[in-house]
Symmetry: C2
Subunit: 697 residues, 2 copies
């Protein structure tokens, strides 16, 4: 999943302001659409959203399965998201001679719109609470392993039934780390075409140095159009475009798909992040960043090939660096421990909460086993030792040949009937795969495997097969036939017999690893089951003690958040809530127009045509995280006033606890988009469509 | 120590050609000046160097204590070395407005020459074998710890006596991992001034992409002048400049200071490199590369400040990456094991070699303990957890206050009387220290300490003192007074009393770490003593069995190597042995003059003045490694024909075993230097001096 671009953590002193308790305060909250705190909002802002408004926002919101959020902005299927969310799709249909990612794209007619190779968009249609059914199928006398299998089975069953009944993509989502289970049904769109994208220079103006800074000057958006039956889809719920942007202190909503937060984590789980997970992941990210940076420095074409991978790696590294720094703030753990201690005392004091009395202990115990297995899990199951598209394809085919022969309920989660269509859509993608980049990534990750498991480990010896990591990677990438989508289809359709006799070296490699990978995955899944049961008890007890409405940690499902447009103070300086186009030109000039502060030629030529007072970016107190990239910012009339694209440097630690003191979400203003479409890009047709104007030919 | 720029290991398949045995073959050998294999050379090349020639080369060779090699090239004290060897010195007297490192420097008169802040040059005057004296002081009945202390004591004593007797810098050097001990006496120069440097663009043309590639087009040289009593030093042994460069297959010599090789390592020692040392160091290097790269991308001034650090880190990373890849070639260990097995059988077969029969086992045992302590050693003693100039200064002052109160023989090696002058020269250097860069490096390395020893470790808790790594780093850097050289002097001169009452936070930090750092260092030193004794036995047995002249692993002491100028084959293509100036312009044009293929303005303007057929770079089979950077390449008449600045990508694995199949040393041709001095830089005075011509005013 693509995350919000994360902390420019070269070096910034962060203070985590721990607000205590899990009760939401101020503008905190990534709220469930089926449990939206209307009363809190009314008390705080004197505004009460109607049911119709909530439904409208829900159905105008779009999830990008490649990672990120978006929204419908015309009745003819236009979807807006960030350029950096669309990047993956743009990259895939670009090549050496046509680099749409870098140079932008402007379809003058619908016929010119470019179809994406494997982009799937989801729109949330309904939510159903299935907690009871899930929990009933797990019997108290079951071992953790039995319970995990039973839970997986009932979830697969619910999803399958729902798919058969409704034809909609159906996912059972685990909330509150296991406190609740909701069935989410999505309408799925797979014919997605690019309508418009600006040049990368202007979408990521200021590059790394400005990333996670504010004030900012980025035009981080692009426009796709959804098609059905080869025609632009007719959309009922789309957001009207505001030509007036957002006023200071104005109430705004953000509807999107925050990916992952850790606010409900216990001390033991946070210690695991600090002591095991983050150190390991940061080391992997940094070594991979060096690898891809060096490769990208070779020449322009290599840079183009690696751009999306590298951007993702740099982003994650910054984000994790910042979060890790937050975990090392001594106050953070002190307060978390105090709070958890108090809560445990409260449980101990009530006879009827006895079921939760050892829940924290159970989690800590499970966490120990998770910590011990983390490294192997990361390397073998979570592809850190096999960082390669072709390996991923090989493993998927190998596992499909085993899993699809089993009843639905007994399969690995991702092979459940309900998700197969999406899985196949990815597996048979025609996206380009570059041998040199594959060899590079695979060789380096095999080397990482050796470094971390040890050269003499029997599995490592089998993986290397008597060769060096480099030789082995070349042999595998050159030797595999999986680059051919037809070959993949043949193996997938042919099932186990076809895969077993495929005689493909990459599939053979996946087979070497599979038993060990599955074994460590099972250990992790069992520990997760133990933790889920414990979290369910904690959540139940918390509702009993605190008796208050709340929201669960982010799960890359649709959430609604609110807040206001508001500046902040940094180093005793007031930072205004919004910037304008004049500021963009000023900043470029200050840096002598040198990359990454250079402007596209069009922007230099057409400067005089622009109203330089047009607002460009703005900040709000709204509670977001990675995955919210591309989320629409909406005013209380339900109009589109902007699009989320980043958080400031102080917002990163909100993964652990929200604060509205200085943490801010950063958005592109709707006015800047319109102004540039008309005056810089001469994209009148599309601008008119956004404004619901009739376009003259 | 600065190393030769190492392997562009983005991705290259390397084949280690293991030549077996320790007997030198082909052009192998980093020979001791007092044991030069005249007969081998005569047999191979029909050339017998005279004693006078050897003495002349020895005394014309210069060691850069900052890391690297050089040579005298005029009777008035001009020393030539690589620009990347001089970089450290250039960086130190540059500032925001005068960036000599980047823009070059040209002193029109001696008075304009710029004095370096802390550059020490050494010239080897004599070598004396002191093996017997060292070994006699270590009694067979001593424990390893007693033996280590006794050996350290006698070495300090020998050095002190020599210094008092001769006034020369005197170092006892351990050769053959402990097989021999030689006393090296150096004349020391500390008034070193920059006479000429080209722009960095042309010294490192092609940057990272071309680094470790060949053909190459770099003018990697600069010129210093040595002063004595404020006047240019009069030099008897300097190299005459050849205007004719080097012919194909011509015999050449390289006299320089190879830093470190691992050719005499046992299998157990190599496994330690593969399984413990290299993985750990590579992870540290890569995370530090990310840190400094991000910082450097902020702006030009940050890039300038971090340039030398970053260059060193990138260099080491490339080098280690390549060496590590070499260790993962399966053939390498197979052959090494076979060979070691045969040698052990040969020892077992001879009754009179019984003393060596368990030597390999003793090394393996010591290696276990070293592996267990490696991480703490790296973090606490070898500054990986405290990557900061100010910390280094604090520790030196703290330890000086303890050590200098002890008798010479009982001190830590670096505080021996014989080396004090050099230590003080560094300690009181006026080189600039930048708060922001110090804070950044220290915070990141404290974070690394936490990641690797663990947050809850008692020492970590003491180090952090209740703060986050960032807060702690800022507090330490802002709070210390050690940026003042006067303050350092006061503490150093004031001894223990002054240091104990200094009330300086950085010294307090050094004190917190010191007991643990010393403890782990002592463990390592004892294991090294065990290994040295075992290696001494192996070396003795090897001389008995193989009965042949040989050379010890590199030790950053002066060595003489020979070989020939010779191209090679790569991917079935012939690579000619030398390039020329025309090739430089061609390559720049191919890359549209974009960095790192841009040319300095002068080079574009004056292209027409140049003879484009002038040879620029060339390759030879000579046996070199990191530390040889800046070594003169000399023909059989003793004339300067070029200067070593790199090795090709295939040369990296020669740290483990030499090969002349495709491994090559890369040099700048003497002709290109002269041509550019006259025609590009209009530095007639200095060019005339190099050619021993009278310069007209």
């Amino acid at each position: 999943m693509k995350k919000l671009k994360a902390l420019k953590c070269v070096f910034v002193l962060m203070s985590v302001v721990w607000l205590g308790g899990l009760t939401a305060c101020a503008d905190e909250g990534m709220w469930l659409y089926n449990d939206f705190p209307v009363r809190i909002l009314k008390n705080r802002y004197g505004f009460e959203p109607t049911k119709e408004l909530l439904e409208h926002l829900q159905k105008a919101s779009v999830r990008f399965n490649s990672g990120g959020s978006g929204s419908f902005v015309s009745k003819n299927g236009l979807v807006i998201t960030n350029h950096h969310v669309g990047a993956d799709a743009l990259q895939k249909f670009s090549d050496k001679d046509n680099d749409y990612y870098r140079n932008g794209f402007n379809a003058r007619t619908n016929a010119q719109e470019k179809r994406c190779l494997d982009l799937e968009l989801n729109v949330l249609i309904s939510i159903e609470d299935v907690t009871d059914r899930v929990n009933t199928s797990v019997k108290p006398e079951m071992s953790a392993q039995e319970a995990f299998i039973a839970r997986r089975a009932v979830m697969a069953q619910i999803e399958k039934e729902s798919l058969e009944k409704t034809g909609l993509r159906s996912d059972v989502v685990t909330l509150y780390q296991g406190g609740l289970y909701h069935l989410y049904r999505f309408k799925k769109y797979t014919d997605v075409r690019l309508a418009f994208a600006p040049e990368r220079q202007i979408t990521f103006f200021g590059g790394d140095p400005d990333n996670f800074e504010y004030p900012r000057y980025c035009l981080d958006f692009c426009l796709f159009r959804i098609y059905e039956n080869d025609k632009p889809a007719k959309i009922e719920h789309y957001l009207k475009w505001s030509r007036f942007g957002v006023g200071e202190n104005e109430l705004i909503f953000v509807s999107g798909h925050p990916g992952h937060t850790n606010r409900d984590f216990t001390v033991a789980e946070l210690e695991y992040l600090r002591d095991v997970s983050f150190p390991y992941r940061l080391k992997w990210l940094k070594k991979t960043e060096v690898l891809l940076s060096v490769y990208s420095n070779e020449n322009k074409e290599d840079a183009r090939r690696a751009k999306d991978d590298l951007f993702g790696i740099v982003n994650s590294r910054k984000r994790l660096n910042g979060m890790y720094a937050g975990l090392l703030e001594p106050d953070f753990f002190t307060k978390k421990k105090t709070e958890e201690g108090k809560f445990r005392q409260a449980i101990a004091a009530k006879q009827d909460l006895k079921y939760a009395s050892d829940a924290f202990g159970r989690i800590a115990e499970a966490q120990k086993s998770i910590s011990e297995n983390e490294l192997r899990y990361q390397l073998l199951e979570s592809w850190k030792g096999f960082y390669s598209e072709l390996f991923y394809i090989a493993r998927t085919l190998l596992r499909a040949s085993d899993e699809l022969a089993k009843p639905n309920a007994e399969r690995l989660r991702e092979f459940g009937d309900a998700g197969l269509e999406s899985l196949e859509f990815q597996l048979f993608s025609e996206k380009p795969i570059y041998d040199d980049l594959e060899e590079l990534k695979l060789a380096d990750s095999l080397t990482w495997l050796v470094m971390n498991i040890g050269y003499s480990d029997p599995l490592v010896q089998k993986v290397l097969d008597g060769k060096s990591p480099q030789q082995r990677a070349i042999e595998l990438v050159k030797g595999t036939k999986l680059k051919s989508v037809d070959f993949r289809r043949k193996l997938y359709d042919g099932g186990k017999a076809a895969v077993d006799t495929a005689n493909d070296p990459m599939i053979a490699l996946a087979r070497i690893v599979d038993a060990d990978a599955r074994a460590v995955r099972l250990i992790m899944e069992i520990q997760d089951e133990i933790k889920q049961q414990a979290h369910a008890d904690i959540t139940k007890a918390r509702f009993t003690i605190e008796g208050t409405s709340n929201y669960p940690d982010a799960t890359f499902t649709l959430r609604l958040a609110f807040g206001r447009a508001k500046g902040y103070e940094e180093n005793n300086q007031k930072i205004p809530y919004q910037t304008n186009l004049a500021g963009l030109y000023k900043r470029a000039k200050e840096h002598e127009y040198k990359p990454p502060f250079d402007l596209p030629e069009r922007w230099i030529k057409r400067k005089n045509k622009l109203d330089l007072k047009t607002p460009m970016n703005f900040v709000t107190t709204v509670d977001i995280t990675g995955g919210n990239s591309g989320s629409p910012v909406v005013n209380s009339k339900g109009e589109f006033v902007g699009i989320i694209f980043d958080g400031n440097i102080q917002s990163l630690v909100t993964d652990f606890s929200y604060s509205d003191e200085v943490a801010r979400a950063v958005s592109v203003n709707s006015q800047a988009i319109i102004e540039s479409l008309y005056k810089v890009y001469e994209a009148k047709k599309i601008a008119d469509e956004l404004l619901d104007r009739k376009s003259k030919k």
